[in-house]
Subunit: 202 residues, 2 copies
């Protein structure tokens, strides 16, 4: 059984990372979503353990103290983070663990797990990204400008990622991500065990 | 249009690289086989420009002198090599060029084209490889031992390749190679132009 790997997927808002990941999980079950934990209250329809692990502030802080949180951030007075157990559970099943986290969290994961694989999803262009944010129809002009500015900051981190996927056509982007998951396991840098199985010569 | 890349595929005899490549080319036309050149006489059924570019010794040497041969070797009194034009023709169509060459030639290509991508195909085990060579029924025991020894030498180069694919199940191996071709284009190291298109910040 091929060992599962730890993948991080990041993208600015409006790049469609949720849609891409939802499609991916429809196509394959060799990878699973490592559900984030948060102290914010569940929104309508959100299910504990599916959308987030909803924790109290005390519980979250206890887990931080016990080094059970791989990375976390505080945003608008709430903690958001990744529990070690979410990742370990997937890897121990031989599946890939996919973390959907923002750029600072991704850099944190990279420092702790140099063998993790980081994927950044890009919009086709700034113009398309702005258009997509506008089309949601839920954001004020001010909010759109703020999100676009935020996207520019996040894109500054893309150079530190391992793979860049442009989400122009959804089906293509999902197939790109599938190919990345598959090919990354075949990289020579992950093949020491395989070569050793052929003896000292290899 | 994504630029075509130069891929090298190597494998010891009996690992099924011809079968894998034939299947690959049935599935995709974004990659093409960069046909090798040789001075040996065509065998029955071999077509000039398809199986090999058949050249006279004088012609081959003229091309070497004119730096039109990317890599070559002499084997049993005949030249075998890769013409620059075979590769350029594919790349200029925006397709990937796939070279099927042995390990020394591959190392040569890597030196000249550091951005090339090298794929090594492995048998599931030494036992399976020997069995496959035996099953051909065309080789003497002596020849099988010689080929196995040769395979061990070649496998010693696998550590210098970028990807390792085990040919256990043919369909899986072809899909692995397809994923490698696709994912390799998405690697951040090949994405400077893409990031630049988002401006200085990226």
């Amino acid at each position: 059984m091929a060992k599962g790997l730890l993948f991080v997927v990041s993208a600015p808002a409006g790049c469609g990372k949720d849609t891409i990941l939802n499609e991916l999980f429809k196509r394959t079950d060799t990878a699973g979503y490592a559900v984030s934990a948060t102290t914010r209250a569940p929104r309508e329809g959100e299910v504990n353990g599916v959308h987030y692990h909803f924790l109290t502030r005390e519980e979250f802080e206890r887990r931080i103290a016990e080094k059970e949180v791989l990375e976390y951030t505080e945003y608008c007075g709430n903690y958001y983070g990744t529990l070690r157990k979410s990742v370990d559970d997937l890897l121990s099943q031989g599946r890939d663990a996919i973390l959907k986290i923002e750029v600072e969290g991704a850099m944190n994961i990279r420092r702790q797990f140099p063998e993790s694989c980081l994927v950044f999803i890009l919009p086709p262009s700034w113009e398309v990204l702005e258009q997509r944010l506008r089309n949601r129809g839920t954001e004020t002009e001010e909010k759109i400008i703020e999100r676009t500015k935020q996207a520019r900051t996040e894109l500054g981190f893309a150079k530190n990622y391992d793979y860049l996927i442009v989400n122009d056509d959804l089906g293509v982007a999902v197939s790109d991500l599938e190919a990345v998951l598959r090919a990354e396991k075949l990289r020579r840098s992950r093949g020491d065990e395989l070569l050793n199985s052929f003896g000292g010569n290899a």
